[in-house]
């Protein structure tokens, strides 16, 4: 599975903001923390605001804050704002029946992988991901 950059950046932003829903962060704050483009992230944040997961706070000291439900929102909820997670089989038109059956079988296998991927991402809430990340940070502190 190759996650789109937009989905990955959205997960960075949502997880960072959800880790402290009281806190407001600018696009630059988040982009710098993850070493990503502020310009690209700003576009992603607009989509997150439209979805209701994030609120834009205007004025001095403004920024973004998390407004979703941390133990109900899953990683898939965030990713599906940006992509469908359907593997694409770039198939030409099969000439014979045998070719069609092989293509159908390969499509069925990629569907099986996609279903499994979605089932995993749809059961990991932001809260679970944040708890696991905190545990990981405690076990292996950054030097």
């Amino acid at each position: 599975m190759k996650m789109h950059k937009a989905s990955l950046f959205a997960l960075y932003a949502v997880l960072e903001l959800a880790s402290d829903p009281e806190r407001q962060l600018s696009a630059t704050d988040i982009a710098e923390a993850y070493g990503i483009s502020t310009h690209h992230l700003a576009k992603i944040l607009r989509t997150l605001v439209r979805s209701g997961l994030v609120q834009a706070v205007r004025g001095a000291g403004g920024g973004y804050r998390f407004t979703g439900v941390v133990n109900r929102t899953t990683l898939l909820d965030v990713i599906e704002l940006f992509e469908t997670l359907e593997s694409e089989l770039d198939t030409p038109n099969p000439k014979g029946q045998a070719g069609a059956a092989v293509i159908e079988e390969l499509q069925s296998i990629t569907n099986e992988i996609d279903d499994l991927t979605k089932a995993i991402l749809d059961t990991i809430t932001l809260e679970t991901a944040l708890n696991s990340a905190r545990l990981r940070a405690r076990v292996a502190p950054q030097g």
Binding site: T74, L116, A119, T123, L135
Partner: protein, 156 residues
Amino acid sequence: MTDPVTIRNALPTDFEVVIALDLFGDAKEKPAYWRGIFDRYVIAGRDDRIFLVAEIGGEVIGFIVGEVRAWEFGSPPCGWVFALSVAPKARERGVGELMLKQLCKRLKQAGITTVRTMVDREDKLTLSFFRSQGLRSGRYIELEKPIDELELGATL
């Protein structure tokens, strides 16, 4: 429900309440199945079979069942959780977490270092719970297929 949650071994007298709790997760009532489970996991009193219930104020509001399984396709002994339910009115109080922790404690005392389960991928509530407790996809992959009469006839 402000009383503390307590966890204890299931007793034969918990039979009816367990069946009632099971209905919160599964619409099918299956007393014969639970009679068998109580015989093997409660009455038999074996250390490798664990059946716990959670109580609040003397009322049973949840249960968990697990056991030690060994050498299935070469898998060293591991703990299996195969049933878990918490009454909706007692959810979001950490009841499931307490029961799973107690079950893992018992497994650890029996020398087991891994706990495993299998849940319907549509059962997002239970899957999310196990995820929140740190369980992830493991080394073993569940596979299945419908048993086709015609296919059996062709190969036998």
